[in-house]
């Protein structure tokens, strides 16, 4: 009997090939990441648990992305002093301070490698599955225990196979695929499960597209999401394909269910406010007035996302009735966007461009909404009050739809732009 991808990764880590869904296994993660917001709590828990050292400090990465800088006088010094404490007292040397969003950095800097197990104190840790890495989020008590023992218990999950066939139409992107999947599965349809993407449509997707999909798989409750390793994975990680070829779906593996999508049929998708799984073809939202557009986040802040947005905004000006905030996901993306002229395009179009960080997706620094205001965002969540007051509204879309809608002043499909501007 063959194995699902998640089983293969767990077998690789534990050396036990008898594992079955439902079993609880103890793994030694290959890397663990702590986000700034939880570093004080992780330190407290280490102390409360009685750990006086971190067992494998070389495996840990601390990233300052949510809270640096933030508009609260007491926060920045606190978080910086905690990072110093993690370094001096617990010997965690790898810190990323203001270099970008944690989940983007984890693959961009090759911390989360194919074939490994990674855990982090954030829910969107599922992202790194785009590169064939079993990655899953935990809280800070769990993290303190991981730091103290280098061990994490995980239940072997059931898996859902998602077969992608065909080719996306112009202006339809990875974000539309994952919105569609979350809309079909619903917010709990992937609960405790591994979502495993395969098929010719999956192979065509770029690495950034795969990361976008795995990032948002979490919104269906998934424990992890995984793509098979192929030549694109090998190239991204500068590895020999032979080393990672084993990260492939076995034809005879047992999947709980199989979902098949013809990408050629897919339209741009929109998630309506207060339900990530309340997803529709864009035709159902066209004409919705918006006050703000946000392009960025760990879901859609990559260089490819910047390119999609710049292509649509080039030589045009956004609607006078709204604000557009663009945030590249990392310094690397920021620099490349400058070199490629995207940032200039954004600025000329009337956008506000901010430093690489979570920005308003994290719900604190700037651009937040007040009662009745509507944002169209390329991030991954539209919960009540996530980006402002509880009576504000968040629609989610791809960067293509977001950029087109910023020009129109209301939700439009990118295909409609030609008609609108002529």
């Amino acid at each position: 009997m063959g194995h699902t991808l998640v089983e293969k990764l767990m077998i690789k880590n534990t050396g036990d090939d008898s594992i079955r869904p439902g079993d609880i296994v103890i793994v030694n993660p290959d890397c663990y990441m702590i986000i700034d917001a939880y570093s004080p709590s992780v330190i407290n828990k280490l102390e409360e648990m009685g750990f006086d050292k971190v067992l494998c400090p070389e495996k840990a990465v601390v990233v300052f992305d949510h809270l640096l800088p933030v508009g609260n006088p007491s926060n920045d010094p606190l978080f910086i002093s905690k990072s110093v404490e993690l370094r001096e007292k617990y010997k965690i040397q790898t810190t990323e301070k203001g270099t970008g969003i944690s989940h983007t950095l984890m693959h961009e800097k090759r911390y989360a490698k194919p074939g490994t197990i990674v855990t982090a104190t954030d829910s969107h840790t599922t992202t790194y599955g785009g590169g064939g890495c079993l990655s899953t989020g935990i809280g800070y008590s769990d993290m303190a225990a991981v730091l103290g023992t280098d061990e994490l218990w995980l239940k072997v999950p059931n898996a859902i196979k998602i077969v992608l066939e065909g080719k996306l139409k112009p202006h339809v992107t990875a974000k539309d695929i994952v919105l569609k999947v979350v809309g079909d599965l619903k917010a709990d349809g992937g609960q405790y499960k591994s979502l495993e993407f395969t098929g010719p449509g999956a192979q065509q997707l770029s690495m950034q597209a795969r990361y976008t999909i795995c990032n948002m798989a979490l919104e269906a409750g998934a424990k992890c999401a995984l793509f098979e390793a192929d030549d694109k994975t090998a190239e991204y990680f500068d590895m020999d394909l032979d080393e990672i070829r084993w990260i492939q779906v076995d034809e005879d593996a047992e999947y709980e269910s199989v979902m098949t999508y013809d990408l050629g049929q897919l339209e741009p998708q929109i998630a309506k406010p207060k339900g990530v799984d309340d997803v529709y073809d864009i035709s159902k939202a066209i004409g919705t007035k918006i006050d703000e557009v946000f392009i960025g986040s760990c879901t859609n802040g990559s260089i490819e996302d910047m390119a999609v947005a710049a292509d649509i905004l080039k030589g045009k000006t956004i609607s006078p009735y709204l604000k557009l905030v663009v945030i590249p996901a990392s310094n690397k993306v920021f620099k490349e966007s400058i070199e490629l002229g995207y940032i200039e395009t954004f600025l000329k179009a009337g956008a506000t461009v901010s430093h690489p960080s979570c920005g308003l997706c994290a719900g604190f620094p700037f651009g937040l909404l007040s009662d009745g205001e509507v944002v169209l965002s390329t991030s991954n969540r539209n919960f009540i009050g996530r980006m402002g007051t509880k009576d504000s509204f968040i629609y989610l879309s791809s960067p293509a739809v977001a950029a087109a809608s910023a020009l129109a002043g209301e939700i439009v499909s990118p295909d409609m732009l030609e008609l609108l501007t002529h």
């Binding site: 829910s123 709990d188 609960q191 994290a362």
Partner: protein, 170 residues
């Protein structure tokens, strides 16, 4: 952890997410007590003021979906909630809540059959729940989790182990 928990029901819907349990703007308040004052405020404005120790949350599916913030179950715990019954729990919330010592029970029927404010008794020893004159079975928990659970959460679990190993090492 007490073997029998008994209190009033706070009835909640499906898909209660961690932003609803504790909104992001309250995460960085200086004390746990201050955070707890804002628990569930967007859903039930009087929750934090009216909840009393021993009350039990009964919810639908996917309770605690969303972010990994452990502050969310902590805020509920600090308000006096030490037991949550739901149709299902989101994965990270499940781990976090158990780790801080909240007992979680999966049950498919109670949410549909109980009323807000009803009395409920959760008996861990005999693995059953009683409310509204009906009795429900409790599912078994994997052994590893039960140990964490019995120790009163992950902090206590490791504290005890570390204390033992230090004594042993002397």
């Amino acid at each position: 952890m007490a073997n029998i928990q008994s209190g009033r029901i706070w009835l909640l819907p499906d898909d209660v997410d961690t932003d609803v349990i504790l909104a992001v703007r309250h995460l960085f308040l200086p004390t746990a007590e201050e955070r707890a004052r804002h628990a569930l405020e967007n859903l039930i404005p009087n929750f934090a003021t009216d909840v009393i120790a021993g009350d039990v949350i009964v919810a639908g599916k996917n309770f605690g979906c969303g972010s990994s913030r452990e502050y969310a179950p902590e805020a509920l715990y600090d308000c006096g909630i030490s037991c949550i019954v739901a149709k299902s729990f989101a994965r990270i919330f499940y781990r976090n809540a158990i780790n801080i010592g909240i007992s979680l029970v999966e049950n498919a029927d109670i949410q549909d059959e109980c009323e807000d404010g009803d009395l409920i008794t959760v008996d861990h020893e005999n693995r059953n729940i009683e409310t509204g004159g009906r009795r429900y079975e409790m599912p078994k928990v994997p052994k590893h989790l039960e140990e964490i659970f019995k120790a009163g959460g992950l902090v206590n679990y490791h504290r005890k182990r570390n204390a033992l190993s230090k004594e042993g090492g002397k």
